[in-house]
Subunit: 384 residues, 2 copies
C-alpha cells in the first residue's frame, strides 16, 4: 500500500444557498480544492452525499459533478453513509490512490437541504435510522439523541448547564471562520434560555442543517512530497459500524464503533490519543461530542463534560474540538460534513485556521458519524 | 497494489418479492456468497443501490446490511452510480483489498423496486439523468434510448427486425437460469408483435425492473490461491464517465466512456477484445447492447446488429452475451444489476453456468452502464 497525502482543499460557506444549484455548490468546493492543489485534472471523483435523490431529484452525483467541472471521462461515483457520507468519499479516495488504481482523486462532500423540492428534511434524515424499527415509530434523530442524553445525565449525574461549554466553544470559534453558517457568539445564559426541541436537547445542543460543499485532492505522498509546500500526510483511515437501531445495543452510552474506528486509526498512525493535537469530532448534538471524546480515549466514561467545563476543548486546551465551529456553529449539511471536518483539520496543520489556530498542531484527527453512532469513519493527518 | 480475487458468489431470483424486505433480499445474496467463500466474516461491506432512499424510505444501507447479517463493527457504506451502482460496489471492494486497507470485502448489489411505498419508479429512474436538462423536460430513460435507437437505425440503415436476435438470445439463455425473472422463450415473430413503449423501442427491446440482490466476496489472491477450489482472479477493474446529458455529446451513437473504460481494462489485463470468451454487457435496451459491442471492439461502428444476426452473440458464438438472460430476461433491479453481471461471468469461468455454458471460457468481462452511457464500470476476470 502506498502512502497518500492531501495537496488541496476547498469549501463553500454553509448557508441557505437558494441562488446556487447542487452542482454549483459541489463545483465551487471542487474547483477551489483543485486550484489549491495546482492540478489541472484528476483521475477520479468521489462524491459524498446523503439525500440528493429525494431532496433535489438528482442522483448519479459522481457523473453530475465530474461533468460540470470539466473532468470528462474521469472515474466518478457517489458514496452514501448517512451523515458519514463525506468521510466515506474521502476514505474511498484514499483507498483508490493507495491501491494504485488511480493517481489523483478528488473527494467532494455536498448537500443542499434548505430549498428542497422533495420531502420534509426531518423525514429525509430519518432514512438513516432503521425504517422498520425506528423511523416508522416516529423517532427522529433529535428524539433518538434526546433519549441518549437524558439517560447519560441520569447515569452520570450531569446537569443541563454542564453541556453549555460545547455550544459556547463552537460559536466562539465559528466567529473566525468565514465559511461557517453562524457568526454570533453564545453564552451559558443564552444556552440555558434556548428553545427546547426534544427535552433535554435545546436549540443550542443541536447542529443546524444547511447547504454546502467541501473537497480535498488526494495523491500518492511519494510523487508529490518534494513538490508542494502544503502537503499533509494521511496517517490513518479507518471505519467501523454498529447496529443501525440503538435499542439493539447493550449500552447506548458507549460509541463502540467510534472506539473501534479510533483504535484502528491510532494503530495505523502509530500514535495514541495523547498525541492528537486537534480533533474535529461530530457534534451533531452536544451529547455526541461528549460520547466521542470518551470513545476515543480523551475522557473517562461519563466524564466528557468535565473536559469542556475545564476549558480543555478550547483551541488552547488539551484537546481542541470544533475549532472552526463544528457541526453546531459551522453548520451540518449532512453529506458534506465529513469533508468539512477533514478540510478544517488540514487548515489547522497548515497553520491556516486564522483566529482559532491550535498553535504548533502537527497531528490532527477527524471523525464523522453516520446514523446514531452506527457508522464511524476516522482519519488522522500529520504534517510531513 | 496486490492482486485480488473472488472466492464466493451469491444471488437471489429476480422477481416481485413482496414477501421479502430490502434487508432480507440483500442478506440472502450476501450470506450465499459468504457460504460459497467459506469465510465466516469479512472486514468490509460495500452495498450498491440506486433508489432505496425514496423507493424504500431507507438509506444508510451499508450499516443496514452489515447489521442484519451479523457483521457487527465491519466497515460498511453504500455506492451509488445510478444503474452502475452494483459494479461501483465491486470496484470499491477491489480497491479496498488491493490497497491493503482491508483483507476481505463483500460487495452486494440490491434493489427493491416493485412494491415501493415511495414515488413512481420511472420518475425515480429519471434521477440518474440530468434533473435540469433532461428529467424535468419529461425525458424518461426509455425515451432517451428511443431517440438513440431511432438515430442509429437512420444512420446505419438497420430495420426494426434486425434487433430481434438480442431478445431471442437473452430469453433462450434465461430459460436455464433459475435466478432469472423470465423463463419464457421468445421468437422474431413475438418480437415484432410486442407492444411499443417509445417508438422504436418495444417491450422486447427493454429490460424489466424487479427486486433482487447479488454479491461476491473479494480477497487478496496471494492469501487464498492455494486454499480455494473456486478462486477467480480479478484481472482488471476500471471506470470512466461521460456527460450526464446526452445532448452534450458530439456523437450520441458512440459510447465514449465505454470505449475508455474498456481500453483501460484491456490494458490492465494485458489482453485485447479478441481474448474475451464471454461478455456480460448492459442490455438495458437492445440499442445499448449494440453500442456496447461496438465501443468495446467486438464490432465495427454501425455493425453491432450484424454480430447478433450472425449468431455470434449466442453461447456458442464468437462473443457470447447475456448468457444467463442479461438485463432483458434475467431482469434489471437497477442497483443490483452490476453484481449480477459479475456473478454470472464468474459462474461461466467456474463452469457453473448450467444450460448456457460457454465451453472452455477462461476470460470473462462484465460492463455496467449508469445513466445514458454516462458512467461505465468494467471488470475482467480470469481463471488462474
Amino acid at each position: 500500500m502506498r502512502e497518500v497525502a492531501v495537496i488541496g482543499i476547498g469549501q463553500t460557506k454553509i448557508d441557505e444557498h437558494w441562488e446556487k444549484s447542487l452542482r454549483e455548490l459541489a463545483s465551487d468546493a471542487a474547483l477551489a480544492a483543485l486550484l489549491d492543489s495546482r492540478l489541472q485534472k484528476v483521475d477520479a471523483i468521489y462524491v459524498g452525499n446523503m439525500m440528493s435523490g429525494s431532496a433535489n431529484h438528482q442522483q448519479h452525483l459522481g457523473v453530475y459533478v465530474a461533468d460540470w467541472i470539466g473532468m470528462r471521462y474521469a472515474e466518478a461515483f457517489r458514496l452514501e453513509a448517512a451523515c458519514s457520507s463525506g468521510a466515506a468519499s474521502f476514505r474511498t479516495a484514499v483507498m483508490a490512490v493507495a491501491s494504485g488504481q488511480v493517481d489523483t482523486a478528488l473527494a467532494v462532500g455536498v448537500e443542499k437541504m434548505t430549498d428542497s423540492p422533495g420531502n420534509e428534511i426531518t423525514a429525509e434524515l430519518a432514512t438513516a435510522a432503521d425504517a422498520d424499527w425506528e423511523a416508522d415509530q416516529g423517532l427522529s434523530f433529535v428524539a433518538l439523541n434526546a433519549l441518549i442524553m437524558r439517560r447519560y445525565m441520569h447515569e452520570y449525574g450531569w446537569k443541563k448547564e454542564d453541556f453549555a461549554p460545547f455550544a459556547v466553544n463552537a460559536h466562539a470559534n465559528a466567529m473566525h471562520n468565514p465559511f461557517a453558517r453562524f457568526h454570533e457568539p453564545t453564552t451559558i445564559e443564552d444556552y440555558l434560555k434556548a428553545s427546547m426541541i426534544a427535552d433535554p436537547i435545546n436549540l443550542m445542543d443541536a447542529s443546524a442543517i444547511g447547504d454546502g460543499a467541501a473537497a480535498a485532492v488526494v495523491v500518492p505522498l511519494e510523487l508529490f512530497k518534494s513538490d508542494s509546500h502544503k502537503i499533509v500526510r494521511v496517517a490513518a483511515s479507518s471505519a467501523a459500524t454498529d447496529t443501525i437501531a440503538i435499542d439493539h445495543r447493550k449500552n447506548p452510552l458507549w460509541l463502540k464503533a467510534a472506539a473501534e474506528s479510533g483504535k484502528k486509526a491510532y494503530a495505523q498512525a502509530g500514535i495514541s490519543a495523547a498525541d492528537v493535537d486537534v480533533f474535529e469530532l461530530h457534534d451533531a448534538f452536544s451529547i455526541m461530542a461528549v460520547l466521542s471524546l470518551e470513545a476515543n480515549g480523551f475522557a473517562e466514561r461519563g466524564q466528557g463534560p468535565r473536559l469542556a467545563l475545564d476549558g480543555e476543548i478550547l483551541p488552547t486546551g488539551r484537546i481542541p474540538i470544533a475549532t472552526r465551529g463544528g457541526l453546531k456553529a459551522r453548520g451540518h449539511p449532512v453529506g458534506a460534513t465529513g469533508m468539512y471536518q477533514i478540510v478544517e483539520v488540514i487548515q489547522q496543520l497548515r497553520g491556516e485556521a486564522y483566529g482559532s489556530l491550535v498553535e504548533g498542531a502537527r497531528i490532527g484527527m477527524s471523525q464523522n458519524i453516520g446514523g446514531s453512532g452506527s457508522n464511524i469513519i476516522t482519519h488522522i493527518f500529520q504534517t510531513p
